[in-house]
Symmetry: C2
Amino acid sequence: MIPKSHPRYESLVMREKIAKGVEEGIVHITGLIAHGRGEAFDYLIGEKTQDFAMKAAEAAAAFLKLAQHPVISVNGNVAALAAEEVVKLADAAGARIEVNLFHRSEERIRKIIGVLEAAGGRNILGNEGDARIPGLEHDRALCSSEGIYSSDVVLVPLEDGDRCEALKKMGKVVLTIDLNPLSRTARCADVTIVDNVTRAIPNIRRSYESIDDAEKIIEEWDNRKNLQKALDFICSRLQKIYSEC
Amino acid sequence: MIPKSHPRYESLVMREKIAKGVEEGIVHITGLIAHGRGEAFDYLIGEKTQDFAMKAAEAAAAFLKLAQHPVISVNGNVAALAAEEVVKLADAAGARIEVNLFHRSEERIRKIIGVLEAAGGRNILGNEGDARIPGLEHDRALCSSEGIYSSDVVLVPLEDGDRCEALKKMGKVVLTIDLNPLSRTARCADVTIVDNVTRAIPNIRRSYESIDDAEKIIEEWDNRKNLQKALDFICSRLQKIYSEC
């Protein structure tokens, strides 16, 4: 057991959840490495939601508010870390949930659907694989015709760069949560929330419930400028952490 | 198979080696997360040996040159990524190799010794656990009386912060290889090589073979100043990567 007083308690709890997810067959083994990369960037932003992340969560909420057919894509890491929060957001925003994996396996999809159902989710998509995202090869292209394929706005936390680009090419509004502000996903999405999924997903939900003028928020949104703020913040923090020692 | 033409070939090969290490019981599951953190920082330094890392490798070589009883500590990740290079460095510098694990298990120590022996290593220490590093609890304190315990200079790549501090308190010269220039290990060591172990270990060996005046190198060495250079480099790169897109 990790004591709650540990300065990095939240981070260690997440690490345990991901390791447990691997044991249970929910998280792919390479998901551990991806989680480690996320830890490094989370550390660099202070393991807290910073202003740029709050603004991006608000922009994501605004896009969800104006969507006709919003979909939330869930992979193993997201399910292990934030299944309940995903379900709550889907309920609040009237979005469908689709399990969509980079390393696709029917067994893992079934297990992840189980995790989401245990968290209160209903009518979870993902098993069908009855449509394809154009421009991607093999199983990575598979998606659900009722879900991602026909969505107008899609929230893809922790997404692969190739797939993010392919979704953009389909004309979708792509919202992502990615701790690495330099990743291809971060740079190609319409809204990039540089934050941990465990903090970002509830932030989107709270914004969704509180924002009035979604059109205005979208009109003023500049993803590139916001990413630059994230980079500037990391730089200033790199200097500050060091001078504190 | 990963094509050699892939822009991130080396990084993907390392990832495969670590994943294989987990399958074979050489790398602890949390070693995957640690590897991911390393990947993130390696990305930030451009996945190349930068000047500050070359200088630090030279300083490490100088300390090894003047050592009476140098020891190289090896864990699962280091064995999976750089067993041969560790053996070559130990041979060149007349250093003992000790397998020393954060998550100690006799089986894993035995397996890692096997990997090092297959790479040409002889008289590998680690199984004994017949001495303790003062100030550490449980198995994490265990080390070899002939190895780390009686060493004057110890190279601990990818070390835990607590243990790095404990080794310093024992009066040892601590040389480390750590991609995170902000980690406690990076900040407490006498020499911190901010680089990937696969590049840093051969760099130390080549420096060892070429340097003339080890005393002078040590006299002029300022680890803190060198770490600052690493941080400055990362900051400038954060800005540059982004403007390239």
